[in-house]
Amino acid sequence: MPVPLYGFLQGDTVGLLILAEDGDTLEALAQKLQAAASLRVAARHPVRVVYNDKIMAPSMTVAQAGFEALDRFDVLSG
């Protein structure tokens, strides 16, 4: 079941709706957001996923991280 999330990529001008899968790793989630924003923001590596003000482990899945529909996450450089 896809989980709709508000994704904010550092460097971008607008938040995007990202449909995540429960089993997506946060690394894959960050790649989805970077791909969706690639018209405006060049891909950067490495990046960090921030959720509820915490930096999350990239290997963690969306389900393990506790993401719920319409939550916000951020992808930051470095």
Binding site: L17, A36, R40, D74
Partner: protein, 497 residues
């Protein structure tokens, strides 16, 4: 026979005591507004510029003839064809956003004409309604015939009847401001904040921009409208003075709320027109300079006049002058097919000017334009490549202003999630969330574009969303004005920068 000076006060002040009904039944609080006060508290209501119906009609007739004369002289399609393409698209923005918004002003003024608390107020609101009807008809008369030149001008009539995302945002604003509003809040929000604070001066600025762009028809139109605004905007001042006397906290709330709501919409309409859709050599000032010189100074004087404080979000608003409309424009450019007008990429000389005018955050914005330009370089110019230089994921929207979540800076977007009564909301900024939390019953059930997509009300696939829900077609949806074919993009990268 009475002369004017004897007759006018008699005609304006025509209140009486009710014997068959109570005053609060004639003027219920729910529609007259709060604080509910007996007429004795309103009886000294005075407008500063007094007019009679006959004088009003004579003046308006002369103004209409002047507009018609300019239209006949320079409003033909061949005149409009000579305008710079970016400016023509600024016209399309205003052609859509203005006329039917003004029509909602007719409704709001008619509410004041019936439920205003003093007869002189009701008389002035009647003139205000006639004004707003004129402000509906003139732009429709001038703009809709341009449909023969460009099918995007169809949106002069169509815009508010669609579920286009910008129409949803504008309707959310005007429905609350005018259509579903009580008389007191309507006159404070519309006359004091929108008209005195924004449009009265904004129209002066727009007329100046139009003159610089050799668009004399638009210049005459907004000048003619502005003269009405300057007169009927005075209705709100004695209303605010009375509310301030009896409930200053509520007066402050109304001013704070409506200044923010107005800022959101007008920073987009005017900010984009000045800083992007006016040719560089025809820009008399930057949007920020316009705001500081015309809007902010005037607003602060109005606050002083009434003994009001600056809104609590003042520092945030001052910071937004440097960035908000830039965030919106870059986002809108990359989703231009979701709108009904065309866009232009700021080239090297425009970006140099923008950096000079907006040094605080321009580095972050410049990186975005460099990336978009790079995409055009990669795919090459031409209409066939438009959608290759376009966003694909669904952009997201604020649950209060309904505009894209584009507040803050590229480095740090200020969107915030709130759970209220078990439902999740997202707001672009702290002031939008603050307004929501003051009156959640007013806003909570409205759904933004994202929620409509997720519920299945609107299609999820972008092409279907554009055609089936936003009422656009490949002919009318927004494109790059030059199809990505810019001389500076063809030049080697180093020489263009």
């Amino acid at each position: 026979m009475l002369n004017r000076e004897e007759w006018l006060p008699l005609a304006r002040k025509l209140d009486w005591d009710y014997s068959y009904v109570r005053e609060d039944e004639v003027f219920p609080e729910v529609i007259s507004g709060r604080p509910w006060l007996p007429h004795s508290e309103w009886k000294d209501w005075e407008e500063s510029f007094k007019t009679s119906y006959r004088e009003y009609v004579d003046n308006q007739y002369e103004k209409d003839m002047a507009v018609q004369a300019v239209h006949d002289a320079v409003g033909r399609i061949e005149n409009v064809q000579k305008l710079a393409l970016p400016w023509l698209n600024s016209l399309k923005v205003h052609a859509a956003a203005l006329p039917l918004a003004e029509f909602t002003g007719v409704i709001g003024n008619l509410r004041g004409a019936r439920f205003g608390r003093d007869s002189a107020w009701r008389t002035m609101a009647t003139f205000g309604a006639l004004d707003e009807y004129r402000h509906t008809q003139i732009p429709l008369l001038l703009f809709h015939p341009l449909l023969r030149l460009d099918s995007q001008f169809d949106w002069a009539h169509k815009f508010y009847h669609t579920n286009n995302w910008f129409a949803v945002a504008a309707r959310h604003f005007f429905d609350e401001l005018t259509v579903g509003q009580n008389a007191i809040e309507f006159h404070i929000a519309t006359n004091v904040v929108l008209e005195t604070g924004f449009t009265n001066l904004q129209f002066v600025g727009l007329a100046s921009l139009a003159r610089e762009s050799s668009d004399h028809m638009f210049e005459r139109m907004v000048t003619s409208i502005q003269t009405d605004e300057a007169r009927h905007a005075q209705i709100g001042h004695p209303v605010l003075a009375t509310v301030m006397k009896h409930d200053p906290k509520y007066a402050q709330y109304l001013v704070d709320k409506w200044f923010w709501r107005n800022w959101r919409l007008f920073s987009i309409l005017t900010g984009l027109s000045i800083d992007y859709l006016t040719a560089l050599d025809q820009r008399p000032y930057s949007f920020k300079e316009f705001m500081e010189e015309w809007i902010i100074d005037q607003f602060l004087r109005t606050l002083d006049e009434f003994g009001l404080e600056k809104p609590w979000y003042w520092d945030l608003l001052m910071d937004e002058l440097d960035i908000y409309h830039h965030m919106i424009y870059a986002s809108a450019y990359s989703y231009r097919a979701t709108l009904w007008f065309n866009f232009v990429i700021p080239g090297p000389s425009e970006r140099k000017w923008l950096r000079h005018k907006y040094p605080k955050y321009w580095d972050e914005m410049d990186a975005v334009w460099e990336q978009i330009s790079e995409r055009w370089r990669t795919v090459g110019p031409g209409p066939a490549n438009e959608l290759a230089v376009h966003g694909t994921a669904l952009p997201t929207f604020c649950d209060l202003c309904q505009l894209p979540l584009s507040a803050g800076t590229p480095r740090k977007n200020t969107a915030r999630v709130l759970v209220h009564d078990g439902r999740k909301y997202i707001f672009c900024s702290e002031p939008c969330q603050w307004i929501f939390l003051h009156e959640p019953e007013r806003y909570a059930s409205h759904t933004d574009i994202v929620k409509r997509v997720l519920s299945g009300e609107a299609p999820a696939q972008l092409p279907n969303l554009l055609t089936e829900y936003f009422n656009l077609t490949p002919d009318t949806w927004g494109k790059d004005v030059h199809g990505g074919d810019y001389e500076w993009l063809r030049a080697p990268k180093d020489s263009a920068a």
